[in-house]
Subunit: 523 residues, 2 copies
């Protein structure tokens, strides 16, 4: 029997002392529980994503010197830890195999998947097997196992480091894929993940073990650091785990965890949200309150002459339901000072007058941010962002775009989920037609199709790369399809200036999707 | 003798009809002049950079159908044109070789250089030679010739498509490299470039011909569409060209051309600049005026109580010298309305109060932009951007960051160049200590080292990837180095929200340099 400890840690990029202390702490914990092996995720020593810091040779050196330090804690325990390796040719994304105070071997990741990795890392070209306590162990990275699975057939178990970005609703198919892989190779597969929100990308944990016969047999928690020990016996019969995921619940957890992790790692305690009385900012306030606690969320309600009394009442209600502090600052006086200085005629409301209001609100939010060290949470949703339906430097501002990868129709589902036990977001917020309230009787549908039409159309266009013609064949009006594609294409310049999103889909703007700014394509 | 026409065109991304018409126009022009061959640059049919539009299959199809159209114009002339090829495996960055109404062959680019290209293009794996009118011709892409030069030795001449991003001061070493390459292969080398500003990247033209014995023997103009015919005779003795570049002049031309091209391609005619009376906005106004004409540049002067009368006088002087229209809008009333609403004490000026002013100015610029369809030019420089010394959503706004890749010390040199014939930017602007004027007696040096110290330090850090320790060994004060690196690392979140820059160096933020946002590294 092999006692395998999995350490699912949340490293902080660049804080090698912090990360190393954490690694040593968990090695000692594993030792105390008599583990034979303890494994840590990809890049766990340095944190994620290193980006151009990889060009600083002293950073690589420091990472190597911390690896030397970790080495000393490996008496009688096999330690696998993700770090950055370097040889005369360049830099590798690697796993160190440490034992009894020595580096037994270094495994360089073979499959360097995308453009971002290729900028920094060379490919490794070897796969190692170890005979350890009678077991044939292969050590590597999940992507190597997937792409070169034929090479792993003599392994009893494969221990993988892997950083797989979170995508809503994809865990079950991931489990199925790895179950099939374990069956195909006829080997146990152990995946050790990091957990944390890393510059837009969420790694959700769920480190897991698969049996070739029974599929998923063990896993750690999602959305939190975790540690667990598994007793592996090749001949034992394990109970398969039937892991069920409810997509809105996992989306909710993913967003809450990411907000908390981003705020904490960047040295903030409190956040501020511009609360309009609409559903998006209501959901952001709720998510923030659940992640950070009610004392750490401040709502700013900033009505103008165009704000309905219902909006203010609903916004207040949300704050009361959440128990968070808020201020109401009417922007009328400032708004008037702009109108008079620019000699703008309010009886003739145009985009200029609309946008001024959104930008006054941005300035007020930033003033609070500067004064009280609040981090500003952005409240734009993916449907708006796709179409550029927002005021640049107005409602588009913030340090983190909480819902930037969530379509409006899913925000309604989030609101229902938030309300599941008690009403947080008033029904009136959910039922009213969405409006930016930058003029009287304004509705989102003045410029956009209904979200129930828009969102599926955007999904076809963005996720499935349908052409204009293909979408047009479906049940949409030609005029609507043309208009939407046109809006998407014309608003790339705005998207390039947005705060980082929380990536929760496989097609996130600014992470996965880059469109040309100057773009006359019609497809 | 072979008559070779080079067509250095400026395609518009996605406007395939426009690009095709242009290609046909130049084919006909080449025919009229009895050219044997006419060559067009990389991706000239579709424009640059296609990005994720490459995932739209109808876009690829359309590009193929336009290629069919071009085919018809190739009677008695060999036409080489960059397009997107597709086979059952995927998509290629390719050159079509057309002759007498037929596609003779298609060459798929072999060397897919960086992560961005790898996201879209497969690698070709063949190099073709043609016997044409007695000449052994190889057709390809410059990067293939550079990386696989051994395979080209039997060629008499190599005709390359190439899109090499403009980098200030690098043309002479580029010429030298290709001269050496031509010598090494013992072949003539013809490079056909695009010209244009493409979403941040400038392609500067300078299509050129190299003799194996004489080096550079022919070139087209930089920073403009151009067309030329060269009579190639293997036995003729050509005169070598000694091409001299003055770096500030080319930088000036590069910026002027990029501004014009970006503004025109995106459907704008006029631009607006927030003119402070400082050197950066003065230089941006000057560049814009030279690119677009004085009737197409509008300056907004927005003094507050902290603005010296000298600044306003200098700003007005710049406008008068350039002959551009301007407005002076004092922001005091709006500023006061913020102060009173937020109950801020002006006798105690902090970052909050400073930033409000910069953001009022941003709101005013955007109001003019919305009202009069002016495109906002951003005036931040690379030194500030590196250190995050700017107000996000304040002076950081705009559609195009004209000086975002130009260090402050080079902006002084640009100002001198602009003033070379007559004074445009008053001496007092150049001589005064830089200040944001967001409080009384403020100077950039309150927070930053002198630019004469800062810029070389940033260059070591950013361009040469020196470590903290390496820089520290030089003649800098430890405290300054530490502080600067700390400012660079802490301001990545701001840089991610900047407008696109005009890339004029080999290390441009957001194009070449990506740092982690959450970053506790000290190197």
């Amino acid at each position: 029997m092999l006692k395998i400890a999995i350490s699912q840690i949340n490293p902080i990029f660049g804080d090698l002392k912090h990360n190393t202390d954490k690694i040593i702490y968990f090695i000692n914990k594993a030792k105390k529980e008599n583990a034979d092996i303890v494994v840590f995720g990809e890049l766990s020593l340095v944190g994620y994503p290193p980006n151009d810091i990889l060009f600083k040779s002293d950073f690589i050196k420091e990472n190597l010197s911390y690896l030397e330090k970790i080495k000393k804690y490996t008496k009688d325990i096999l330690v696998l830890v993700g770090f950055i390796n370097k040889d005369k040719n360049g830099v590798y994304n690697s796993c160190a195999i440490l034992y009894n105070g020595k580096i037994l071997n270094i495994y360089n990741k073979n499959f360097i998947s995308d453009g971002k990795e290729k900028k920094y890392f060379l490919k490794g070209d070897k796969i190692y097997f170890y005979k350890f306590k009678g077991y044939n162990i292969a050590v590597g990275f999940l992507e190597d196992t997937i792409n070169f699975y034929n090479l792993y057939k003599k392994a009893d178990l494969i221990i993988n480091l892997c950083n797989i970005p979170f995508i809503t609703g994809k865990l079950n198919s991931f489990i199925k894929n790895i179950e099939n892989l374990a069956k195909k190779i006829n080997s146990f597969i152990i995946n050790c993940n990091l957990v944390g929100f890393f510059d837009g990308v969420l790694l959700d944990g769920f480190s897991c073990i698969f049996s070739p016969k029974k599929g998923l047999i063990y896993h750690l928690n999602r959305f939190s650091e975790d540690f667990g020990i598994f007793n592996l016996d090749l001949n034992s019969s394990y109970n398969p785990i039937d892991y069920k995921v409810y997509d809105i619940e996992e989306l909710y957890n993913a967003l809450c965890f990411s907000v908390r992790d981003y705020v904490n790692k960047n040295g903030f305690k409190k956040v501020i949200v511009g609360l309009s009385g609409g559903i998006d900012s209501g959901v952001v306030c709720s998510l923030a309150t659940f992640s950070l606690g009610k004392d750490n969320v401040f709502a700013l309600i900033m009505p103008s002459r165009f704000t309905s009394s219902l909006s203010v009442r609903d916004a207040k209600k949300i704050c009361e339901n959440l128990g968070i502090k808020y201020s109401i600052i009417n922007i009328e006086k400032i708004f008037k000072s702009y109108l008079s200085l620019l000699k703008l005629d309010i009886s003739n409301i145009d985009e200029t007058i609309e946008n001024i209001q959104a930008r006054i609100r941005a300035n007020l939010l930033m003033a609070f941010s500067n004064k009280f060290k609040y981090l500003v949470l952005n409240t734009s949703n993916k449907s708006e962002i796709s179409c550029g339906y927002s005021t640049l430097y107005g409602d588009s501002i913030g340090a983190l775009s909480v819902l930037g990868d969530v379509f409006k129709t899913d925000i309604y589902r989030l609101a229902d989920y938030i309300n599941k036990d008690k009403e947080i977001i008033p029904k009136s917020v959910i039922k009213r037609a969405p409006s930016a309230e930058l003029r009287f009787n304004q509705k989102d549908t003045d410029k956009l199709p209904e979200y129930s039409i828009l969102d599926p159309l955007l999904k076809l266009y963005i996720f499935d790369n349908f052409n204009y013609k293909d979408i047009n064949k479906l049940d949409y009006k030609d005029k609507i399809v043309k208009k939407v594609i046109d809006m998407v294409y014309k608003s790339e310049y705005k998207r390039r200036q947005l705060p980082i999103p929380i990536k929760v889909s496989d097609k996130t703007f600014n992470i996965d999707i880059i469109l040309p700014i100057t773009n006359r394509s019609k497809f």
